[in-house]
Subunit: 450 residues, 2 copies
């Protein structure tokens, strides 16, 4: 009567090779973030529901994993006439990293005013599990709070671009838009203000369903065909224009809207600041970019590539959220890397190179060699920096020990017989090439090349 050994629905076990790859990618992202002056923050997995609810829309609230009361609290709830969900829980699992950041900033007035933090932790969403959609997944966020300066936008964009480059990605670009610019385009198109949200939601799908699909959606929301076409004319960038030409085109299209002009001014400044960075050539103005409904109030960004559909990450300025916990508005801008998607693509594009999870050397020995000798040799090799495993069953035949070393993805077998034991040496067998040589244990660092 054994128990099921499967992980729960939508959950994943990461075996050593997979975990090693994930650690490798996280380390590169972390080092890049730190170079840009971001400092690490970690927040609890469990938050009060008062912290979580009302930040992600009704749909989001439904997807929060909630923790059941225990003992007396549960008993009392179940004794009620008609217990409801709210009687049974007041805690939930972290749904994103931004709300946690907002709470921490409000709770720690001594943090630096311009708080540049990175956070790389899992979040949980009770979505229907599916291919590439998990209920626990890693987020890698950078945010800068406390300043309205566009330097902050430039910093998060540059740091994110460099992180992706350091991971090995090429041929991607940073699409840049401004929430108020898109709103102005909607207004100028003649779409009534009551339908602005509907228009934003439809435009957000442009990448997935194309302009014909978006038009169908707009018509369904009783936006007229000519309004839709007006919107496309402003917000869909014509092919073949340079960034300067596209900005000039938008300046012309948007001239009737003062908020639109101000927004475009910000995009222009950001493009100029970006021209001084290593990501200069990666930036593209994309007036159609909507970035969901979200909480964005200013510039918005998304990483795309011609090599695959969908985005590698996104972000933008959101000046309202952080203040929710503090009762005063705190400007903020952030960029989040889609870690799970990154890992999938790195696998596909073969960007992990020779990331290797197994030990370097497996010590295999004959039964007449004292185990203390084997253990001493392991200690000597470890102190030279090698990752060393000891085959634990000395009674097994040497061939079996060596073939095990191979399946356990070791690079070398280190064989110790009585001769080796007597001469403080080791017969090292390269498990890939089959090549074999006797070396002094004390020379291992010179003789063994990983």
């Amino acid at each position: 009567m054994s128990i099921s050994a499967k992980p729960a629905s939508g959950m994943r076990d990461f075996l050593p090779e997979e975990t090693t790859k994930r650690h490798h990618a996280l380390k590169i992202i972390q080092q890049t973030y730190e170079k840009y002056g971001f400092v690490p923050l970690e927040t609890p997995s469990i938050e009060n529901l008062t912290t979580l609810l009302g930040k992600y829309g009704d749909e989001g609230d439904q997807l929060i994993f909630k923790i059941l009361h225990r003992r007396d609290k549960l008993k009392k709830a179940l004794e009620k006439e008609n217990p409801e969900e709210k009687d049974l829980t007041d805690l939930g699992l972290r749904y994103d990293l931004t709300v946690s950041l907002a709470r921490v900033v409000a709770n720690n007035p001594k943090l630096p005013k311009y708080f540049k933090r990175y956070q790389m932790q899992p979040v949980w969403r009770a979505d229907r599990p599916g291919k590439g959609r998990y209920r626990e997944f890693m987020q890698c966020d950078i945010d800068i709070t406390g300043t309205e300066s566009l330097v902050a936008e430039a910093e998060v964009c540059t740091a994110t671009a460099e992180a992706l480059q350091n991971l090995g990605f090429e041929n991607f670009y940073i699409c840049i838009n401004h929430r108020q610019l898109l709103k102005a385009a909607i207004e100028i198109s003649g779409i009534p203000s009551g339908l602005e949200t509907a228009a934003l939601v439809a435009m957000d799908k442009l990448d997935k369903i194309g302009s014909d699909g978006v038009k169908d959606e707009l018509l369904k929301k009783s936006i007229t065909s000519s309004q839709a076409e007006n919107l496309f004319k402003i917000a869909i960038r014509p092919e073949g224009l340079s960034e300067e030409e596209e900005i000039a085109r938008l300046e012309n299209e948007i001239s009737a809207s003062s908020s639109g002009k101000a927004a475009l001014e910000e995009v222009k400044t950001l493009m100029q600041l970006m021209s001084a960075t290593k990501a200069a050539k990666l930036c593209k103005v994309d007036p159609s970019l909507a970035r969901g409904l979200g909480y964005y109030t200013g510039c918005i960004f998304e990483i795309r590539s011609d090599l695959f559909s969908g985005s590698l990450g996104g972000g933008g300025r959101y000046d309202g959220l952080v203040g929710m916990f503090k009762g005063e508005e705190i400007p903020a801008v952030g960029f989040s890397i889609g870690f799970e998607r990154i890992i999938m693509l790195m696998d596909e594009l073969n960007l992990f190179g020779k990331v290797h999870s197994g030990p370097d050397i497996m010590l295999c020995s004959f039964p007449d060699v004292p185990l203390t000798k084997v253990i001493k040799t392991a200690g000597a090799l470890r102190s030279k920096g090698f990752k060393v495993e000891i085959y634990p069953e000395q009674g097994h035949k040497l061939g079996r020990q060596i073939s095990y070393a191979d399946t356990a993805s070791c690079q070398f077998a280190g064989i110790i017989g009585s001769e080796e034991a007597a001469s403080e040496s080791l017969t090292v067998k390269n498990l890939k090439t089959g090549e074999q040589k006797n070396i002094k244990v004390s020379d291992a660092d010179k003789e063994i090349t990983l």
Copy 2:
């Protein structure tokens, strides 16, 4: 009407300095584990309750955080006449890392037979929060499954000892006992077999309540005073004996029990294997060590120090647990470092040295310097490996910018005025010493010493 910004009860926010320290310690532990040939595993935070329940005793089951059903499943449960806890949940949060390991080993027959895995992830327990007792805390475990060889015991003990040494701990020792040795001592003392568990539970408190306290507990369980004294005579090590003398003493005391003798043989062999390691001098036979009720079946270990009470970690052999998911017995031995306690002690003992979370250099500039120039300088310094932050408000007075850099725990302010901008240089001010000098940006790596 702002929302409370406090973390939930028993939960902690780790601000940048604290997070940096934790990352620093985790990295050292991880590197040590890897040197010993352990490979990383990560498992989901959420597990099926069938996986979790029945492994930690009734008390433990009560402390598992359970996830409330959602939508239809919840609705259906609440429509029942008298809904109970089991109607409301079938998922829970990971309670330790050992049960996850057991499940993964059972679910992945292709894993190496001698699976040496390390796992460093948080676990959750709904304990009453208190000083040093949290509801979310990190565990750092190593385990070796698939072998009964005492090499495995030696490996987990040596790796753990070296991890602690690499963290900076000295003056600790590894207490070693064997579950069957303690049981034999209980039997030989004349304590009836029905009271064995009661005796184990009482002995487990020796460290906290001393032998008088343990004796009181034993008497309460209707163990006689002379039985208690018999037990102490065998299981409490007399002062002044060497390890060899203590083993000889135990050989004599335990000679009437064949299982006790076999257990002592294993302890002897382990001590001999350990003599070949760097942890040789740290091992102490301690026949009183009980290690809770647990699932231990063989050798048991605990890290103690004379400098503080309590343990830094513990472990042992548990040959029953891993097989629970597989329906066949799989031997296993593990050692777990008490990470939260380690961090607390490292702080107290000042073992973090110059772990530093802030950026290295904050660029401060005058309003007449183009921001693109500042951004370019930041890029140049970053590509030399420095962690660089840009003060985002150029309009602020220089003094204000520099004093902010200081409070944000930067080591240097990098000042850019029009002269610096024109000469591709930087005035670098050491914020600790106040010392200040002008350097070429291209010479920064030679001129700035962190």
